[in-house]
Symmetry: C2
């Protein structure tokens, strides 16, 4: 049997490389793109082996790519049968003319839930306990109460998007005693980790009930601007907005207005619009806005990197055996196929 | 039957007052001490009724006190049969000569677990996710990764003190996938919310195993200085220390040295020694120290206040019916009697 040409473009340890050197493969280890723009990029995990950047010759050779490459390079890959991203978001690869129709596209859903859901809970507890204000006070060496705080126990948390990330966050909130409302695009059975399940079309009637609105939606034409000024106005007085999906799902100016006026109680934002947030943008200095620079995912957590490597190995095994791949993305919608939970 | 004279010294709503106006009581509603020094004091919950400060005449009249009063006032209370604090800590009332030997002392254990355990988890996630550094970066308008972060999943959390607060924190950590080691003073069955249970004497062998050491111990002569310089040196490289018990349980200077050198990964401190932390103290400016001004408990959370009022009502019912009181404190040890879990 002809050996399949596999191009792997993330830094890996020897053990992780070995897991990809399967019977029937010829593997090249290269360095591709960092995770999509705004992510912190690859970090120096000590065990990782060095590698050279991807070349056009690599692209001409590759039948499968595991890891992200610069999207325009895909035009140089006439033999490509399968593209497996190391990211959950795949927008850069959806533009027409990049991937051939017969090329399968799979993402790294499942790798990021742990890291991002914990980051979300950290931002939420900061805002609920005023820890962002206490941090500012600490810098001023000011020992003074900032007043009343809030609890997750009994709080209503609306989770928009019940994929890997939204699902894990819903589980954490439920474990802390919150009442969790899940929102998703397509009908399906109610998972045990939400108290209510609704469809996206019901959003307007749910926003006034939620103490916390958590956005874990991918970036698609349908999600762009979904939390518009009108919808932010529907949110409950004092509610908290979390966003780890894409910045442009939320109307930033409307959010800033609502935080500035005190109508919203706070926000935890790992993604912004514009992104990166430019110096001088008013969001930086709003006291109850907690802003992190798109770092909740990426390779910031070692476990995320390990999970990505495990997804690569499992999908490569399936690819070589002609089995259906996991995490297939429908290029038309930008959502995963089959397990259509978001 | 002679009506019992009950002095209530915390602000209450009409509904909460009604719950204390029981058959067989004559109740005076006054304002006593705020919670023990360092607490944020009473906050303006909107529904609370106004009250006058406690007088010496009130003390002479009282047969039971629900709520904290200035300790020296207890010398003016010859008829006092029962003192119920609104705080979990009771050190100020343990000094010889304040309470008569026949006066029962009960505390508000059970009221604070929710508020303080969530505050602890918030501080821990801040340090694990570098959110304190991201907050500082936000103030500088700096969009840049702070590097690798950590997860609670699989982390070893050593909880010192398994009372109300330590128990609730252990439950939260376990729900997030941590491996929880509980440490307590006296033998007893292992609660379901810890993976291992040990006695205080085993502390030195446990410290090197823990990614997180969480101190929820009360202030007693035995706990003073328990986390000495020698014991801090036994902690694992990169470990995180949380303290919500009493500041003097930890050697502050040794902790500062360990944070400054990077040997410890961070700290979340709601109590300090000295307390309040004076301006110019180096702890204020250590980047990985998260300091809050003894606010995790107090009345900062509405639910805490409601739980205190409920403890008052239940113990008052027991007092009037001659039943054993809940949360009795042994003046010799400073610990609760019977349910001796810390």
């Amino acid at each position: 049997m002809e050996k399949k040409h596999i191009l792997v473009t993330i830094p890996l340890s020897q053990e992780q490389r070995d897991a990809l050197e399967q019977e029937g493969t010829q593997v090249r280890f290269r360095l591709g793109e960092a995770l999509p723009s705004g992510r912190g990029g690859t970090l120096p995990f000590p065990q990782l082996l060095p590698a050279e950047p991807v070349t056009e010759e690599d692209m001409a050779w590759a039948e499968a790519i595991l890891g992200n490459v610069a999207p325009e390079l895909l035009k140089k890959a006439p033999r490509l049968e399968w593209m497996q991203t190391s990211s959950a978001g795949v927008e850069p690869y959806l533009h027409p003319g990049l991937l051939r129709p017969e090329t399968a596209l799979t993402n790294a859903t499942g790798a990021y839930g742990l890291a991002i859901s914990e980051h979300m809970l950290g931002m939420l507890l900061m805002v609920f306990k005023k820890l962002e204000l206490y941090r500012d006070a600490q810098r001023r060496e000011d020992w003074a109460s900032q007043g009343q705080v809030r609890t997750l126990l009994g709080s209503v948390v609306l989770v928009m998007g019940l994929g890997d990330i939204g699902g894990d966050f819903a589980r954490l909130c439920k474990a802390m005693g919150a009442y969790v409302i899940g929102l998703r695009r397509t009908p399906g059975p109610k998972p045990a980790f939400v108290d209510e399940l609704h469809l996206t079309g019901e959003l307007d009637s749910l926003l006034p009930r939620a103490d916390v609105v958590a956005v874990t939606l991918p970036g698609t034409p349908r999600t762009r601007g979904m939390l518009s000024r009108e919808r932010i106005a529907l949110m409950k007085e004092g509610a908290v907005l979390l966003n780890v999906g894409r910045g442009y799902v939320v109307d930033t100016e409307a959010l800033c207005d609502a935080l500035e006026s005190g109508r919203l109680g706070g926000a935890g934002l790992d993604v912004t619009d514009p992104e990166p947030l430019p110096p001088g943008h008013r969001l930086w200095q709003l006291p109850t806005a907690v802003v992190t620079p798109h770092v909740s995912g990426g390779y910031h957590l070692w476990e995320t990197h390990e999970r990505i490597a495990a997804i690569f190995a499992e999908n490569l095994r399936r690819f070589l055996h002609g089995e259906p791949l996991k995490n297939q993305v429908d290029p038309a919608s930008g959502y995963r196929r089959r397990d259509d939970s978001t």
